[in-house]
């Protein structure tokens, strides 16, 4: 086990897959000569050259479409969209071309592309650089959406996404690239479907994904130490499809659920998880599930306002206490 950073894990997955298969290529803005905004493609340009490590013009729709077209012929492009906010410009090609081509061609063409992007709010980047957009991607038929909460997942999910014949969107996080964690030394493929139990517990399930898994873990610690509440933390690394069986199993055990998301509430991960709970195990519930989420505002620049807009572990703790009638 190596203790490496999230960005290093992503870089390693690229490197291994590109060394194995000459049809694996990567592209994006500043990923080559400059080494990548988040260093996720560091050193690859020197190793694999400009034909396979493509510094693109600032044309998100254009180069995403180019990647999709190349994938029709068996090329496996890994597209980096510098910030998820810019992915709006690429969505036409992701949704209308990549996600639909297999279906509308009756299975003849397939788009085995990987789209990676830095999601999440960092620090004071303002309204147009702080969007969380996972809710937009997870409602698209034909597109898989995964979101790594640690370096092991970042490495293993990218490896599996490259190999999988379906298009996969990987939602990373601006604040997590320097997070350290254990990654297996040998090759490792993380499942693209399912969920992980990040911490086992008995009294309440805290559902999180990506950065909110860490809020949940911290909250679970506090709940255990200060309030004697045993919280289970479920890591929903796959947002599409969501793990119905995993959600049902955990809620059937704890009978209470809190969903923590960095995204705004409407039409989001929380609403979707609650709908699944309703459909799968409504009568297991001892209390109505609760969502912890961002305020529905364009992200403010001001530090205090920004903090007020984005939830954290304290909000998760509060939500649980409320659920237990302790607040």
């Amino acid at each position: 086990m190596a203790n490496i950073m999230y960005w290093e894990a992503i870089q390693r997955a690229h490197d291994e897959e590109m060394a194995r298969d000459p049809l694996v290529i990567c592209m994006g803005e500043d990923i080559g000569v400059a080494g990548g905004t988040y260093k996720a493609t560091k050193g690859l340009y020197e190793k694999y050259g400009p034909l396979r490590v493509m510094d693109t013009p600032i044309s998100e729709g254009g180069f995403t479409g180019l990647a999709v077209g190349a994938s029709f012929l068996g090329v496996r492009p890994i597209v980096e969209i510098m910030s998820v906010n810019f992915a709006w410009l690429a969505m036409d090609q992701m949704f209308n071309s990549a996600a639909k081509v297999r279906y509308m061609s009756g299975g003849q063409l397939t788009a085995p592309c990987v789209f990676r992007s830095a999601g999440g709010a960092a620090h004071q980047l303002g309204a147009q650089h702080s969007a969380r957009m996972e809710k937009v991607f997870m409602g698209i038929a034909g597109l898989r959406v995964v979101t790594p909460s640690n370096p092991k997942q970042a490495y293993g999910l990218l490896k599996s996404a490259i190999r999988c014949d379906d298009p996969v969107f990987i939602n990373e996080h601006e604040l997590m690239y320097n997070m350290k964690g254990e990654v297996p030394d040998g090759e490792y493929f993380h499942p693209l479907e399912g969920s992980d139990i990040a911490r086992a517990g008995t009294d309440v399930t805290l559902f999180g994904y990506n950065i909110s898994v860490h809020w949940c873990l911290k909250a679970a610690e506090i709940l255990d130490k200060q309030y004697g509440i045993s919280a289970e933390v479920v890591d929903l690394y796959s947002l599409s499809p969501l793990d119905r069986a995993g959600i049902k199993a955990s809620v059937s055990k704890t009978h209470r659920a809190v969903i923590a998301e960095e995204d705004e509430a409407p039409v989001g991960v929380g609403s979707e998880v609650i709908a699944i709970i309703n459909e799968e195990c409504f009568f297991e519930l001892d209390a109505a599930p609760v969502r912890v989420h961002s305020a529905l505002v364009p992200q403010p620049y001001n530090h205090t306002l920004e903090k007020a807009a984005i939830p954290d572990h304290e909000d998760v703790v509060k939500a649980v206490l409320k659920l237990f009638g302790k607040a």
């Binding site: 049809l23 729709g61 254009g62 479409g65 297999r102 061609s105 009756g106 299975g107 493929f189």
Partner: protein, 333 residues
């Protein structure tokens, strides 16, 4: 072009024309649903370019006016018609419809319904060819109005920058639905627009098969020789409305008549008659035979084919699950 080739293409163009006219009828009879964009008037464009290229070897991609391009690449007209009928035997198994004809085996990479969407896809196909080192080229057929999308500019820039083997064919029929080109576009001559990206370009009459062929040959040779992209503009006209619910109030009957005097099939037919290669009687027989083939084989096949099964509604959303299990479950060797 050689006489035999011209005679063969005349047969094909008659098939393309009659196929489309039969689609019109089937639509009126409600056998075909959705949007239906027909090609009559523009046949020399697709035929001239593809005669200069290698159908089935070169990759072709286009918009929603796609039936003829698919057939020209080698798709079976029966399967294309069955697709329009929404049948399981259709080229896209009834999941695509008129705007989404595909025949990957014939390297017809599909019809797409977002105006301008295929530009970057074509460049991507060319990128894949470049990586794999083949002698194929990518050919992207789109309309004039598509050039007002951002994808046009983004793609021209990338194609030129990376010297991708892609031929852009602009079938300039002077309209985008009901908006004439001078009302939508600051530059009427589309080939001038790619000069900004250092892409060589050419423009010619799109009604005369041989003219298209001669210009396309140079364009195809340029791209195949590894010189990067080329842009070919063909001046043409669609006889019918944009789709089916179009009463053509935005243009005059006189204008339509003028263009019909330059009908691509008649131009070729009359030339072949003049060259002594065919006769009017032979042409009339050809039309009858074509109609009989369409009725007795193409329509019959579409009519008699089964519908897709409702149980298969979700088939083709994702790759076949069994084959993907190692990555879905993480249980790779």
């Amino acid at each position: 072009m050689k006489i035999e080739d011209k005679k063969r293409v005349l047969r094909e163009m008659v098939l393309h024309r009659r196929f489309e006219e039969r689609c019109y009828q089937a639509y009126i009879e409600r056998k075909i649903g959705g949007f239906l964009h027909l090609y009559p008037g523009q046949e020399a464009c697709c035929n001239g370019v593809m005669e200069a290229a290698r159908p089935g070897h070169d990759y072709v991609i286009t918009g929603y006016r796609d039936h003829v391009h698919a057939i020209k690449c080698g798709a079976d007209p029966k399967e294309v018609m069955a697709e329009l009928y929404g049948k399981e035997t259709g080229s896209s198994k009834g999941r695509g419809g008129s705007m989404h004809i595909f025949d990957a085996g014939k390297r017809f990479m599909g019809g797409y319904a977002l105006v301008g969407g295929p530009f970057p896809l074509a460049a991507g196909i060319a990128k894949a060819i470049q990586l794999k080192g083949g002698d194929e080229i990518a050919i992207c057929f789109l309309g004039d109005a598509a050039n007002n999308q951002g994808t046009f500019h983004e793609t021209m820039n990338m194609a030129a920058l990376w010297k991708l083997p892609v031929l852009f064919v602009c079938e300039n029929n002077l309209y985008g639905i009901g908006t004439s080109i001078e009302r939508s576009t600051a530059v009427i001559h589309q080939h001038k627009r790619v000069a900004a990206y250092n892409i060589p370009a050419d423009e010619c009459d799109g009604q005369d098969l041989e003219v298209v062929y001669e210009h396309a040959r140079k364009a195809v040779d340029h791209v195949r020789a590894g010189n990067g992209p080329f842009f070919l503009e063909l001046m043409t006209y669609r006889y019918r409305g944009h789709s089916m619910s179009d009463s053509r109030g935005y243009r005059t009957r006189e204008e339509e008549e003028l263009w019909k005097q330059r009908d691509p099939i008649f131009i070729l037919r009359d030339r072949l008659i003049k060259e002594g290669a065919t006769t009017m009687a032979e042409f009339e027989t050809l039309e009858k035979e074509t109609d009989a083939y369409i009725e007795n084989e193409v329509i019959k096949f579409a009519e008699e084919s089964p519908e897709p099964r409702v149980e298969d509604l979700e088939k083709y959303v994702f790759a076949d699950r069994e084959t993907q299990l190692p990555w879905l479950t993480g249980k790779a060797a």
